[in-house]
């Protein structure tokens, strides 16, 4: 059994009375590619946001590399409103900001591309290296960190070569075609030197050929950087091709998990995607 990288434990995310993620449990092991799928509005991105610290879950915990990084229990107004399970099981409040979680070795991309618009391709990746810099503001300003800066620049160049964006490195990030922007987002996440990479719909808006290329690319970077990958995706070909395991969310609840083959034949998953008559 390989090492457990990510564990989400009884995570519930409730906005007012709406339960976006309901008692989610999942585990990801080292080196795996795991997909999170589900119909629109199932709570996939919310789950990502809970894991990466953007949202504080209403209840539950997240473990990363055997260390508990997030924990919360219903507080304040939520005490009355809380509809989820495992109430009272968690007592601690642990809610680091996203940057702290990134520093622990988790990096993500966004569903609706969030590159830094005014920056070049090169700088977009270089900025992600900032969290690995050891210089303080004084040494950086007075250029006492030359060595580190140079090393980082070199890393970025290598990274850009690997993802195939080296020849456009001085272009503005937003001037790239859509597919390349997605790639750049992945490169940027990689620059933060993660061990776990979270991809939020990396193939959204891509044509079949681009999707195939991306599929190969994801496998490639997993091997090269020894990554564990957790991704949200709607392109079923991609998901079925590269995932070791799949979790399926519907209305915030986990309705199935298993290998691609198992998921493809799971009646509940098919129902969730195709809809089912009320009396069924």
């Amino acid at each position: 059994m390989s090492k457990n990288v990510l564990k989400v434990e009884n995570a519930t995310m409730q906005f007012g009375g709406v339960v976006a993620v309901d008692n989610l449990n999942l585990e990801i092991n080292e080196g795996e590619i795991v997909a999170l799928i589900g119909p629109n509005g199932a709570g996939k991105t919310t789950a990502f946001n809970v894991i990466t610290g953007v949202y504080q879950p209403t209840n539950g915990a997240v473990w990363f590399n055997g260390e508990k990084i997030v924990e919360n229990h219903p507080q304040g107004k939520m005490k009355k409103l809380y509809k989820g399970e495992h109430n009272g099981e968690y007592t601690q409040v642990l809610s680091p900001t996203p940057d702290k979680i990134t520093k622990l070795g988790m990096a993500r991309t966004f569903q609706n591309i969030r590159l830094w618009k005014s920056q070049t391709v090169f700088n977009n990746v270089l900025i992600a290296k900032h969290c690995r810099a050891t210089s303080n503001v004084f040494s950086a300003t007075f250029r006492l960190n030359r060595k580190e800066e140079q090393q980082q620049r070199q890393h970025v160049e290598e990274l850009l070569k690997i993802v195939g964006l080296y020849d456009v490195k001085d272009e503005l990030a937003t001037s790239l075609p859509y597919g390349k922007q997605r790639r750049l987002e992945i490169a940027r996440a990689l620059a933060a030197e993660p061990s776990l990479l979270l991809l939020d719909e990396p193939a959204a808006g891509m044509n079949p050929q681009e999707t195939d290329e991306l599929t190969a690319f994801i496998g490639e970077i997993r091997d090269r950087f020894k990554l564990t990958i957790f991704l949200i995706e709607h392109h079923m070909n991609l998901v079925m091709d590269i995932s070791d395991r799949i979790y399926v969310l519907d209305f915030g609840k986990l309705i199935a998990q298993g290998t691609p083959a198992e998921i493809q034949n799971n009646q509940r998953v098919i129902d969730a995607y195709l809809g089912v008559a009320d009396d069924a």
Partner: protein, 370 residues
């Protein structure tokens, strides 16, 4: 690589020429000459505008507290440099004040009159900057969590609170209450202003091009993405706020030097607005833009448009229209036109040396197009 080298050489050459010109001005013109005045005031404004740009333009924190930090710097400078024998006269309502020393005099004691006085003056400026930075740290604790316009109004409020404190009679032995601080030493030539402000701006420039400056810009472009990429928002915002305020404090001290007297009144929100508008004219996110705009603004308001106030402009004699205040009306109309129709200002987010490489790039693109 050669392009950047070319740019550096070019920039260095231009800076040297400007500095030389400034020295020549100082050697040939009396210190009360309008050219000297314009250079002094414009350099001070440049520094403050650049410090504001660091925050508003490069970090995307819309703060309107600049006048408050300048006030701190100005007072610190005045309080620490007024000669001891002049203090009874200045603090006549407060028994000669609570502070019985003067930094320039202390240093003149063991460094000689000339060097010591200058060292003392510089140290007083530095103290002003540090005080402003400390204040920024304190203010930042509650305020930096606020979003955009709320941040603006909260920092504006803090500046007003500061102003009230400095006019408070109970602090009179230090601040002289609502009376003027005066008789402190100041550079009469333009060159020291240019060198000082130039050094400060150079440091800001170095910061902006460092890894921290890049992080600031990432926060400006997309906070959520910046945080997701491991940039600690609270820490970096605080840092930008403190550094910007530090330089505003120093700018305030220099402003005090330039003005000759210190009172709380000129450091109203109007001063912040003025500087903000200069930043906008120059281009939000452009250092050279801010400097250029400062010089243009001061040059027009102090010199070029003077005639608009004095009855005669461009040979047109119309004392009925060209009377006191008209030049500011004209200036603010120009500013509004820029704000409304040329939102990028003079420079956008480009720097002056960038103009050098614009043309070759275009050609390259055309070639690629063919």
């Amino acid at each position: 690589m050669s392009m950047t080298k070319k740019k550096t050489i070019f920039t260095a050459a231009v800076l040297l020429v400007l500095l030389a010109a400034c020295v020549v001005v100082d050697l040939t013109l009396p210190s009360y000459h309008i050219v000297v005045t314009v250079i002094k005031k414009a350099t001070v404004y440049s520094l403050v505008a650049v410090s504001m740009n660091l925050l508003n333009g490069f970090t995307g924190l819309f703060s309107l507290g600049q006048a408050g930090f300048m006030l701190l710097g100005a007072y610190a400078y005045g309080v620490l440099t007024i000669p001891v024998d002049k203090r009874p006269g200045v603090y006549q309502y407060f028994d000669g004040g609570a502070i019985k020393f003067s930094l320039p005099e202390i240093f003149a004691g063991f460094l000689g009159d000339n060097v010591g006085t200058v060292v003392g003056m510089l140290l007083a400026l530095l103290v002003g900057g540090i005080l402003a930075a400390l204040m920024a740290y304190l203010i930042g604790l509650p305020v930096l969590r606020l979003k955009s316009d709320y941040l603006a109004i909260a920092t504006l409020g803090f500046a007003e609170i500061l102003r009230a404190f400095f006019q408070w009679n109970a602090l009179g032995p230090i601040t002289n209450g609502s009376n003027l601080l005066k008789s402190y030493p100041a550079f009469s030539h333009a060159t020291p202003y240019v060198v000082l402000a130039g050094l400060m701006i150079a440091i800001i420039l170095l910061l902006i091009t460092s890894t921290y400056g890049r992080a600031f810009r990432a926060i400006r472009d997309d906070e959520v993405a910046a945080e997701a990429m491991g940039i600690n928002l609270a820490k970096h915002k605080r840092m930008a706020f403190i550094i910007s305020s530090f330089f505003a404090g120093i700018g305030g001290g220099m402003m005090a030097m330039y003005m000759g007297t210190i009172a709380a009144a000129p450091f109203k929100s109007t001063l912040t607005y003025e500087i903000l508008l200069i930043v906008v004219i120059g281009g939000i996110g452009s250092i050279t833009g801010s400097i250029l705009a400062s010089f243009l603004y001061i040059f027009s308001s102090e010199w070029l448009l003077r005639g608009l106030d004095a009855g005669k402009f461009l040979g047109i004699n119309a004392p009925g229209i060209f009377k006191n205040g008209f030049r500011m009306v004209v200036l603010s109309v120009i500013i509004m036109v820029i704000v409304l129709f040329f939102r990028k200002g003079i420079m956008g987010d480009k720097e002056l040396p960038d103009l050098l490489d614009r043309r070759p790039k275009k050609r390259k693109k055309e070639a690629a197009g063919k």
